[in-house]
């Protein structure tokens, strides 16, 4: 895969640029500030872990970065597009082409087989030969024998591997992962995170991950700590993964 080199060659702007991001939600009686003045940049090919306590605002941040939601104030620029200015459908289009996701609860469609789950984003993005690409990826994640199993017939680790295959299927420029090992035991979690990091490296994808798992966070090139909605940039500045 040399797409990464192509991209980095042609475009040296950051993959993600966030400035002064603030997010508030209105409750019945008052307004709750979830994120306050977050600014950051993530370069292409970088891997970044967002860490923080429960309720610190990291999942909200992930949702805003991925364009699943729009911020109250501030801008998010994803791969050159200011997503807060895009309509919901334009954001969906952007996601289909450039973004992949891995979730804590796998989020596979229960009625589709492993193969079909992986094919789905390919078809939505209108790519050619979706089945072949899906097979390759499933084989890559070690599930070549289980193409036609439905999620219910797979273990949690296997389901997350299908989800990872799906996330890389459409050759995303950036991958968002929300607690990818949160629902797995240590050993399975270890195997899944190995797979995620390996694939990420192979494909040259930018990775943004929310996690509680310190080991996993340490494997990312950079860690962003978030506390009470504010970014507390750690002492270690960004750098490539070691």
């Amino acid at each position: 895969m040399n797409q990464m080199t192509d991209l980095t060659k042609t475009d040296s702007s950051p993959m993600l640029r966030v400035s002064d991001l603030t997010h508030r939600v209105s409750l019945e009686t008052d307004t709750l500030t979830i994120l306050q003045g977050v600014s950051l940049e993530i370069n292409r090919g970088e891997s970044v872990a967002i860490v923080g306590r429960s309720g610190s605002g990291k999942t909200t941040l992930l949702g805003l970065l991925a364009g699943l939601d729009t911020p109250t104030e501030g801008t998010v620029e994803l791969d050159g597009s200011v997503i807060s200015k895009l309509s919901e459908d334009e954001r969906a289009k952007l996601r289909a082409r450039r973004v992949g996701f891995v979730f804590q609860s796998f989020q596979l469609l229960p009625a589709l087989t492993a193969l079909e789950n992986v094919m789905l984003p390919l078809e939505l993005a209108g790519m050619e030969a979706p089945e072949q690409r899906a097979r390759e990826l499933l084989e890559r994640v070690g599930l070549g024998e289980r193409l036609n199993h439905t999620p219910r017939q797979l273990s949690g680790g296997e389901q997350q591997r299908v989800a990872i295959a799906r996330a890389f299927a459409s050759d995303p420029a950036i991958l968002f992962a929300d607690e990818p090992t949160g629902n797995l035991d240590n050993r399975t979690g270890q195997a899944v995170s190995d797979l995620l990091m390996d694939l990420n490296r192979e494909q040259g994808t930018t990775l943004v991950m929310v996690t509680h798992d310190e080991h996993l966070a340490e494997r990312c090139g950079r860690q962003l700590h978030i506390e009470a909605g504010m970014l507390t940039e750690p002492d270690l500045a960004g750098g490539p993964a070691h």
């Binding site: 699943l68 289909a96 009625a111």
Partner: protein, 828 residues
């Protein structure tokens, strides 16, 4: 198959429980509506054709003014493709070798009868035959009684006026034998072309020209539209629905079918609405994921619209696949009941309501919650978002109410019915809301009882929103079903009450005052006691408050009773089945006044105190209206428009006596002795008419029961849909309870108890509401009297409780039979 295609495939959908419920509800909706519409249309056709034979045609036009109708009226009918026929009816003396007799002649054209058949006997000892044409020219068919009276035989000659006719057949039964007291003399049937040669019918003679019409209902209606402005007051257009004896049964049956159809529509709508809302809720995660993967809201909209259309196709095809065999079975059943083959009549127009029902169900009930899926935020994949509050469903509910209104209106065509049903439902929902909330709140305070009892109450309370919704739907469903059962049984009771097995089936008319005692004795000794005897005086109503009655009454009102002689009577006691609706019945010793039948009084606009003048022979009698009463015309007993008190206005008028009695078939021969002993008394045999009525009642009853079964099936599906709606939660809870150490038996008992309570409350509310609805319907549509139905009110809540308890247990069986571990994983 591509994944996105598969996302929309029905076979994939079928694996999802909620979709199964939507599809099954849709299939049942289409099947029920299609079956009812098809069968109603078939029944209508069969009933009309069997009832038409009572007119010997689909319509009759009677000219009671002694003049034939203009020729072009008939020609116009023929040019429209209608079949026509003619009859002339008159009374005259006929002569045989040994004497003469007043007879009632019916002269018929070759086409007679257009509907129905004539039953004849070639000779006294020969078997009866069914024929479809009357006597030819030169021939005459006669009632067997006439042969006895004139001591004649087959082959002898009968003189009618100037014409000698050969007696070729005994006339046993004519299709339009009717039941008119004006035709008491023995019947003689001849060819209409012979009438002129008899010389009996002259200008101004009392003669009735009757014209028969048969053909397509629409053409008949068009023809009548054209004809009506030209009719004179003495012309009477009669269709099956206008006739007195059968029309009521027919109308009630038809209304019942319509009611059933409407309820089916309502039930279907509820099932589809409930299941699709549930489906939409279950799809929110999928939609959020699809959006995250890059599908636009438009794409989401299209995806679900396409899916909905597929459901529609499956619903319609599936529904028809169920409806057609069912319809075939029903028609077979109908043939069995009628003991004759019934032609299949697959009315394509009857499928329209089914298609429309599918469309409206999908787009008014299923689509709105599914449409809102477009608004599900993609963010939901990361964090569960607040679900729907129910407030956004208010426009859906409004749309659904309008749609139901339109659907039921289209289906039943009766605004009154629609308004009654919807009014009842809205009221019910309001009352239910209050009652249900109160009950749930009360339940929360209930203390004590065993574990399972407490768990059941906690369950009801914890699911109070779902419990309320379920209770509302159950109560509504039970109300609709109970309404139907109640209306059915009161319909059948009414019919049974009208025609008990020993209902009078013979009339004795024209009994001379001095022969009354002998006649009574004659039948008493033969075990066939007579009903009450009434004196009968024939007279015309000629003046109203001193004004000629035809001027006093608006011309638009064609009142048949004004055109012919009425049978007047006097009586001391009000007949059992009559009811006074205004004024007072005659007190003892009272001699003034007249009591008028209610419908006639309304048509004439009569008030208490109006003075009526009757012309009887050459004398006139004037009396004030002192009471207005209803009469059971279909009771098969003598009934009178006008009743005077004993020693009142009719005293000294020439009267004969009339009565009715029940004679079983084995005793029929006694009639011959009777005719010999009392030659002047006319016997009117109406046993075959009663047989026919009973047959129709049976037919209609079967149809009603078949449709009732269909509707109850629909009701069950609604319940299943609603219970399934909370199934997932319940299963999850059950699994959790078991994981935490709850025993299977405890879980089973508490679930059954919870559902039993739900069923009991819903049943109680539903039955109370049903009583209200039945009261409204009885008062407004079925003309019955209202009473409480304890026999339904007590068992329904209990049955509902038991059924729901079993149903709940059944639905929970995966929780009870599988290890909690496996279950929790499945439910993830």
């Amino acid at each position: 198959m591509g994944a996105s295609k598969k996302l929309m495939s029905v076979s994939r959908d079928w694996r999802e429980r909620d979709v199964r419920v939507v599809l099954v509800a849709l299939i049942i909706a289409v099947a029920t509506v299609a079956t009812i519409a098809l069968f109603a249309s078939q029944l209508q056709r069969t009933l009309v054709s069997s009832a038409s034979s009572f007119l010997a045609a689909d319509r009759q036009l009677e000219a009671e003014n002694g003049r034939p109708i203009p020729l072009e009226w008939l020609e116009d009918a023929q040019s429209r493709g209608l079949e026509t026929g003619r009859m002339v009816e008159f009374s005259t003396m006929v002569f045989g070798e040994s004497g003469f007799q007043l007879v009632s002649v019916k002269a018929v054209s070759d086409e007679y009868p257009l509907r129905g058949e004539i039953e004849i006997q070639p000779g006294a000892e020969e078997p009866r035959q069914i024929v479809s044409q009357g006597p030819g020219p030169g021939q005459v068919w006669v009632n067997p009684r006439l042969l006895r009276l004139l001591e004649l035989d087959i082959g002898d000659t009968l003189e009618v006026g100037n014409l000698k006719l050969e007696i070729t057949r005994l006339l046993i039964r004519e299709p339009d034998g009717g039941f008119r007291l004006s035709s008491l003399a023995p019947r003689v049937m001849m060819h209409v072309d012979d009438v002129a040669a008899t010389g009996v019918v002259q200008e101004g003679s009392r003669v009735e020209y009757v014209y028969l019409f048969a053909g397509d209902e629409g053409v008949l209606d068009d023809y009548y539209q054209w004809l009506e402005p030209q009719l004179e007051p003495s012309h009477e257009w009669e269709g099956v629905r206008d006739g007195e004896t059968f029309s009521r049964s027919l109308e009630r049956a038809e209304r019942f079918l319509l009611l059933g159809g409407s309820l089916a529509v309502l039930l279907a709508a509820v099932a589809v609405a409930v299941a699709s809302r549930q489906y939409a809720l279950s799809q929110r995660d999928t939609v959020a994921l699809l959006k995250t993967l890059g599908l636009s809201s438009r794409g989401i909209g299209e995806l679900y619209l396409r899916r909905l259309s597929l459901w529609g196709i499956v619903g319609v095809l599936g529904g028809l696949a169920v409806a057609l065999p069912l319809f075939w079975l029903l028609v077979r059943l109908l043939s069995d009941v009628l003991e004759r083959p019934v032609d299949f009549y697959l009315d394509p127009a009857a499928l329209t309501p089914a298609l429309l029902t599918a469309l409206v169900s999908l787009f008014a009930f299923a689509y709105p919650p599914i449409r809102r899926l477009r608004n599900v935020p993609a963010m939901r994949v990361l964090r569960s978002q607040p679900g729907e509050t129910g407030r956004e469903a208010i426009p859906d509910i409004l749309l659904a109410v309008v749609a139901v209104f339109g659907l039921v209106w289209m289906y039943a065509g009766e605004l009154m019915l629609v308004a009654a049903l919807l009014g009842g439902l809205v009221l019910l929902l309001g009352v239910l809301g209050l009652l249900g909330w109160g009950m749930v709140a009360l339940l929360r305070r209930v203390k004590g009882g065993g574990n399972s009892w407490r768990l059941a109450l906690v369950g009801l309370y914890r699911h109070r929103r779902a419990s309320m919704a379920q209770m509302a739907v159950f109560a509504m469903t039970l109300m609709l079903a109970a309404t139907l059962v109640l209306v059915r049984s009161s319909l059948l009771d009414d019919w049974q009450a009208q025609l008990p097995d020993d209902a009078p089936n013979h009339f004795l008319i024209n009994i001379a005052p001095d022969a009354v005692d002998d006649v009574e004795e004659f039948w008493a000794t033969r075990g066939a006691p007579l009903e009450t005897l009434y004196p009968m005086v024939r007279g015309r109503l000629t003046e109203l408050n001193g004004e000629p009655v035809k001027e006093a009454v608006s011309k638009d009102e064609r009142v048949g009773a004004l055109n012919r002689e009425l049978n007047l009577t006097w009586m001391a006691e009000l007949p059992e089945d009559n009811r006074i609706v205004d004024g007072q019945w005659f007190g003892p010793g009272e001699t003034e006044g007249v009591s008028v039948e209610a419908e006639l009084a309304e048509k004439l606009g009569l008030q208490l105190g109006d003075r009526l003048t009757f012309t009887i022979g050459s004398s006139k009698v004037t009396e004030p209206v002192t009471s207005i009463r209803t009469v059971q015309w279909d009771s098969m007993k003598p009934n009178f428009y006008m009743a005077f008190p004993p020693d009142g206005g009719l005293t000294d008028m020439p009267a004969t006596w009339i009565t009715a009695f029940y004679l079983n078939t084995d005793n029929k021969l006694a009639l011959n002795d009777f005719s010999r002993q009392f030659p002047t008394v006319s016997v009117l045999e109406i046993d075959h008419i009663i047989d026919r009525i009973q047959q129709i009642v049976q037919q209609v009853t079967q149809a009603i029961e078949a449709i009732l079964a269909l509707i109850l099936a629909a009701a069950l599906v609604v319940m299943a849909a609603v219970v399934s709606a909370t199934l997932r939660d319940r299963q999850r809870e059950g699994a959790l309870l078991r994981t935490l150490g709850g025993q299977q038996s405890l879980l089973a008992r508490s679930t059954m108890l919870e559902f039993a309570l739900l069923g009991f409350f819903a049943g109680t509310l539903g039955v109370i509401a049903a009583e209200g609805a039945v009261y409204a319907l009885q008062a407004g549509m079925f003309e019955g009297t209202f009473r409480w139905h304890w026999q339904v009110m007590l068992p329904v809540p209990l049955i509902a409780a038991v059924l729901l308890a079993l149903f709940g247990r059944w639905q929970l069986r995966p929780v009870l039979s599988v290890s909690p571990m496996l279950l929790l994983r499945r439910l993830e």
